[in-house]
């Protein structure tokens, strides 16, 4: 029997742990040879190499979590996943009517263009909004998982982003269908049915997804420390929608007012979306630069903000 008398210590707040994997010598064990070393990490970030390796290795968990979250969400609804399309479609019609009323009516051809612009803008904006809102709540919602398992917490935010992407995908055929039907009735409408510039869409979506994921990391971290962040976010994103080129077109702003298109992290991508889908043009150089800069800023700052604090989550949840 050992009796141990230990002294008190005035210690700083926790720092990062280090994780390494080494092979054990031949035949030394019958179990899976995996050595992990957990130590204080004086720098705020853990070693990014092992962290990103673990993140990549466990990506299947994020995909499955997203799949099951979607399954759970629509399990008890009679219309099921139809709501994924119905919800943004109905919202788009409401906004279209609102815009048409405010403008005092419009010609049928421009009316279809306005509807198409609002549709694709709203679908794209909702993709970003869902990524940010669901990502922001993902850490506090995953409390028990965080208390029980060691894994890169960024996977929970990634899972929300994947879920938002799957919700976004079916809205594209809805947009195309509306435009096809619209063009049958109003063939003079200039919205392209097929354009070579549609090839820019995947790049725009990827950059928007990275930007939204980075922002989700920031808000998810804030939500751990301040639990009303996600509530505040629901109002903020509504204002964000009005400040984005969704209910209005980028060409409506001139001069220095155009800055509003670029100081908004989602602005360049939404402007580029309108250019490609409605105008049938490639995104402008400024839009490209804006999209790349925001994606880089969001992922670098969001990643640093989140990863440097994620070891603290288990005591804050």
């Amino acid at each position: 029997m050992h009796y141990l008398a230990l002294g008190m210590a005035d210690l700083p707040i926790m720092s990062q742990a280090q994780s390494e994997s080494l092979d054990s010598p031949e035949g030394s064990t019958t179990f899976q040879p995996r050595i992990q070393v957990f130590e204080p990490h004086r720098a705020s970030l853990p070693k990014l190499g092992p962290y990103l390796t673990e993140f990549w290795k466990r990506r299947g968990f994020a995909f499955q979590l997203a799949r099951f979250a979607d399954k759970a969400e629509y399990l008890e609804s009679n219309l099921g996943k139809v709501w994924l399309v119905l919800n943004p479609l109905l919202l788009a019609i409401v906004y279209y009517l609102l815009v048409a009323v405010i403008r005092g009516g419009s010609k049928s051809t421009t009316g279809l263009t306005t509807l198409a612009h609002i549709l694709i803008g709203l679908f794209t904006f909702y993709f970003a909004q869902n990524t940010i809102n669901a990502g922001a709540a993902s850490i506090t919602a995953g409390g028990r998982l965080i208390l029980n398992q060691a894994f890169p917490r960024t996977l929970l935010v990634l899972s929300s982003s994947i879920s938002a992407f799957w919700q976004f995908l079916p809205t594209i055929p809805v947009y195309v269908t509306v435009v096809i039907i619209g063009k049958i009735f109003y063939p003079a409408t200039k919205i392209p049915l097929l354009s070579i510039h549609y090839l820019w869409v995947p790049l725009i979506v990827i950059l928007l997804a990275i930007t939204s994921f980075g922002l989700a990391l920031i808000f998810a971290t804030m939500n751990v420390y301040f639990r009303d962040t996600s509530k505040l976010l629901s109002y903020t994103t509504r204002i964000w929608l009005y400040a984005s080129p969704v209910l209005w077109v980028p060409t409506m702003v001139h001069g220095w007012h155009r800055a509003i298109l670029y100081i908004n992290p989602l602005g360049p991508a939404l402007g580029a979306t309108s250019n490609v889908w409605i105008e049938g043009k490639a995104p402008t150089g400024a839009q490209f630069i804006g999209m790349f800069v925001w994606a880089l800023l969001a992922i670098v700052f969001g990643g640093y903000f989140f990863i440097s604090r994620e070891r603290d989550f288990a005591v804050r949840i």
Binding site: H2, Y3, A9, I13, Q32, Q64, L147, N148
Partner: protein, 276 residues
């Protein structure tokens, strides 16, 4: 484990030798964290406080203090201690969930944890779906989980059809059985259980004990935190007593439990020995 080899392990302070028959080595471990003592942690409160020039009130918690401990492969370690002793924090630090403030933990082997009952379970999903989620969260591949699913389902022994029903329809016992079954059937090298044996009836408890003994025979390592002291004396070959983050004693489970009960000033009452 009789013949121990040394494994060179890279640490922040350089290479150290780690005995191959050791599952966990804890060296001078201290874990301290700060908690916000404000009732509501909201942005609104933070802004209000900042406008009044008030600081956020924080309290420092010394959850674990200068702990040294070796846990060899194939051993069953029981941890006893009153509420707030640092037992759960220690378990989470071994699992890599909470980082050390000082010291070092070296872990050799794959860890499976059951530190929070019903971990990550989505109540709207079926037990079967939650088994998949639990396995993926533990780092298993989908193929590995699929290969173990029948075994996990059989072990949980839920009433017929329940495994494919939403978890929200489960009783708390059934919920705990699935969680426990996932944890013990992931073929862990090191199994960490925090108050996990209170789930289930007497028959399931016996089955759980049997499964844990099997794991020990396979040279797996188990660390158990339990307020049911009979569990500690019955299952463990070593026990430690933690109090306010400090290691007070280490030794034979019977001795440690006796000391702990004497400290608590209670005898071997059924309420202190068994889960209630």
């Amino acid at each position: 484990m009789s013949s121990s080899q040394m494994i060179p392990v890279k640490t922040a302070s350089g290479m150290v030798d780690f005995p191959s028959d050791m599952a966990v080595r804890i060296e001078d471990l201290s874990i301290t964290y700060k908690v916000n003592v404000d009732t509501k942690r909201t942005l609104k409160n933070a802004v209000m406080r900042a406008s009044k020039g008030e600081k956020v009130r924080m309290r420092t918690v010394d959850a674990v203090q200068h702990l040294n401990l070796d846990i060899p492969h194939g051993s069953v370690l029981g941890i006893v201690g009153a509420n707030g002793a640092g037992k759960s924090t220690l378990m989470r630090s071994i699992a890599g969930i909470m980082p050390p403030t000082e010291g070092r933990i070296i872990v050799n082997g794959k860890i499976s944890t059951l530190l929070a009952l019903g971990v990550g379970f989505n109540p709207a999903l079926s037990g079967r779906d939650n088994i998949v989620l639990g396995g993926l969260a533990a780092g298993l591949t989908r193929e590995e989980i699929d290969a173990r699913t029948d075994q996990i389902v059989d072990f949980a022994a839920l009433p017929e059809g329940f495994i494919d029903m939403p978890v929200r329809t489960y009783s708390s016992g059934m919920y705990g059985r699935v969680a426990f079954s996932v944890a013990v059937n992931m073929t862990p090298d090191i199994l960490l259980l925090d108050e996990a044996l209170s789930a289930g009836d007497a028959s399931f408890k016996e089955k759980s004990f049997k499964r844990m003994r099997e794991l020990c025979e396979e040279a797996r390592t188990i660390v158990i935190v339990s307020h049911a002291l009979a569990t500690v004396t019955e299952l463990c070959d070593t026990a430690i007593w933690l109090h306010k983050g400090k290691l007070i004693a280490k030794g034979e489970p019977e001795d440690i439990v006796d000391q702990y009960l004497a400290f608590l000033n209670v005898g071997k009452l059924p309420s202190s020995m068994e889960d209630m």
